[in-house]
């Protein structure tokens, strides 16, 4: 009765399939489990902070008053970094992929990839020794001429160790990430779509805006998110470059602090409630990163219909 010739017989060739799908599932579960474990660890360790008497928290006014200035500091530093690195990174990537002669392009791409491999402490040292002193006159000028804008309010820092400097150092650090990922995606633009715009009489720049950038859009967003991840989590460079202080709107005065640097600077001596406090700060950073990534996913998904994947 059961003589359907199409029925499975034996497991020949199916073993590989099963092993692979099992391995893929296992890897997926492992990642989720790790993420969950980190979240649980942070929550448990941070719990004492949330339960403690507000007067016992650093600053004496509760966890929220402690955390919100450094959350804003973190966001400011990362925002400066991305504001600089995104346009520059995309421009450099476009130059490499669509403007530079081929030999120059491959050399340049190689150098950019190398930049991504430089340890952050080196960037920090460079920011501290070279960039910060070099920026002092600029900060001076900004505070004297544009001081009426709160972000440039003076008196400017005499050491140059401000949140703006930290943001610029972060920009230099995330630039290679954004550039090399964007370049990779720009190069994958289908010839078909590039020729479509050229054949309509598009200039090279018009071809880029019509064919390359729309195609690369989700990839650019991912690249920026990876850069943002590095900017948000960067400790060493910020710790070296920023002379920390309370939350202030001015970007050219010393002051402000980021979560990652706050944790790194204080962790070695911290114990008891202070330790728990820093871990709670870490939890907040974790949540910020998660939320930012979810927003990015939502942006990408919103344009799915027009992604060309259908």
């Amino acid at each position: 009765m059961t003589t359907n010739a199409l029925r499975r017989n034996g497991s020949k060739g199916q073993a590989g399939d099963k092993i692979f799908s099992g391995a893929a599932l296992g890897a997926g579960i492992l990642i989720l489990a790790t993420l969950l474990a980190v979240a649980v660890f942070l929550l448990i360790q941070a719990l004492p902070t949330f339960m403690a008497d507000p007067t016992l928290i650093s600053g004496g006014a509760g966890f929220f008053s402690y955390i919100y200035p450094i959350v804003i500091g973190t966001v400011i530093a990362a925002a400066i970094a991305l504001l600089i690195a995104t346009p520059v990174g995309i421009a450099v990537a476009l130059f490499i992929s669509h403007y530079a002669p081929r030999r120059l392009a491959s050399g340049l791409g190689y150098v950019i990839d190398l930049l991504a491999a430089i340890p952050s402490v080196i960037y920090g040292a460079w920011g501290y020794l070279v960039l910060a002193p070099a920026l002092v006159p600029t900060f001076q000028w900004l505070s004297e001429n544009l001081g009426f804008i709160p972000i440039f309010a003076g008196p400017a820092s005499q050491t140059g160790k401000t949140i703006l400097t930290a943001g610029i150092v972060l920009a230099v650090m995330v630039l290679p990430i954004i550039t090399s990922l964007s370049r990779e995606i720009f190069l994958q633009t289908p010839k078909l779509h590039e020729e479509a715009s050229l054949a309509l009489g598009a200039t090279r720049w018009e071809m880029i805006t019509m064919s390359v950038l729309p195609f690369a859009r989700p990839g650019i967003i991912s690249a920026v998110m990876l850069g943002l991840g590095r900017a948000l989590g960067e400790t060493m460079a910020v710790a070296l470059v920023l002379s920390t202080g309370g939350l202030i709107p001015s970007l050219v005065k010393s002051g402000n602090q980021t979560i990652a640097a706050e944790i790194a600077l204080n962790f070695p001596e911290a114990f008891g409630l202070r330790l728990s406090e820093l871990i709670a700060a870490g939890l907040v950073l974790f949540v910020i990163t998660l939320v930012v990534n979810l927003i990015a996913r939502a942006i990408i998904a919103r344009h799915k219909e027009f992604s060309g994947a259908n």
């Binding site: 050229l198 054949a199 309509l200 009489g201 018009e206 195609f215 060309g308 259908n310």
Partner: protein, 259 residues
């Protein structure tokens, strides 16, 4: 609104490889000209030199002249961007812009070079171009949907609509039907017959019947062997090429006794 093309002593190279040698051809305004010939004989290569699209390919270059109503495309100071806005091209694989709606696809070329166009003019142009491409009735209710959601044949007609929207003098088509089913192919062939009332059309095809059905004149290209350059062997009225060709190679090719 359509111009003639005269090609004089044209050689086409990829870096140092001579792909097409010494082509001389005169293409009348408001006519359909078919290029036929075996694979690799340089039909696409030659077609692309008619609007300088070969320059997009690394190493692609030409010697000789291509005249559009007497104006040499390759004179120094001529911008390939201007050339391409006058001589449009439809490709083998339909390539609507995937991130654009049907309407924006039609208007893509029109909006280039910062040209502004009023909303009502744009709507009128979209309808006229889509009607011109025999696509209007199928898409008029979903102009804001992505162009990539259409069938292959519809996408190809969308690409034609996009090309005619910029009002070119000449339309080049490189095997526009080779990715399409017979019904879509017929739709495009009908369309080509209408297009020649307004435009000069040059079409590359592997389909003899198609060449016979749509073209006024036919050019047969051939290649002596691999690594040798392609050449224009015979160029005549389509009826002559298919019934009474002057060259033996042409006769062999059109009667299927090739190779």
């Amino acid at each position: 609104m359509s111009k003639r093309i005269d090609v004089k002593d044209l050689n086409v190279y990829y870096t140092n490889f001579l792909a097409v040698e010494d082509v001389n051809i005169e293409i009348e305004a408001k006519s359909v000209t078919a290029f036929i010939g075996p694979s690799g004989c340089g039909k696409s290569t030659f077609l692309r030199t008619l609007n300088r699209m070969h320059e997009v390919i690394p190493g692609g270059r030409v010697e000789g002249e291509v005249l559009l109503d007497g104006d040499n495309l390759y004179e120094s100071g001529v911008d390939p961007v201007t050339v391409r806005s006058q001589i449009g091209m439809v490709f083998q694989r339909p390539n609507p812009f995937p991130t654009m709606s049907i309407k924006d696809n039609v208007l893509a070329g029109v909006k280039l070079n910062n040209k502004k166009i009023s909303r009502s003019d744009a709507d009128a142009l979209v309808e006229k171009s889509l009607r011109g491409a025999n696509l209007w009735n199928e898409v008029k209710d979903r102009l804001d949907k992505p162009g990539s959601g259409l069938s292959g044949g519809q996408q190809q007609r969308l690409c034609i609509a996009r090309t005619i929207a910029v009002k070119p003098q000449v339309i080049l088509m490189d095997e526009p039907c080779s990715a399409l089913d017979p019904i879509s192919t017929l739709a495009i062939e009908d369309l080509i017959n209408e297009l020649k009332n307004e435009f000069t059309v040059v079409i590359v095809t592997h389909n003899m019947q198609q060449a016979a059905r749509v073209s006024d004149k036919t050019a047969f290209f051939n290649i002596a062997g691999t690594g040798k350059p392609g050449k224009l062997i015979e160029y005549a009225e389509t009826a002559t090429i298919f019934s009474n060709p002057g060259v033996k190679a042409t006769e062999d090719y059109v009667s299927g006794r090739f190779g």
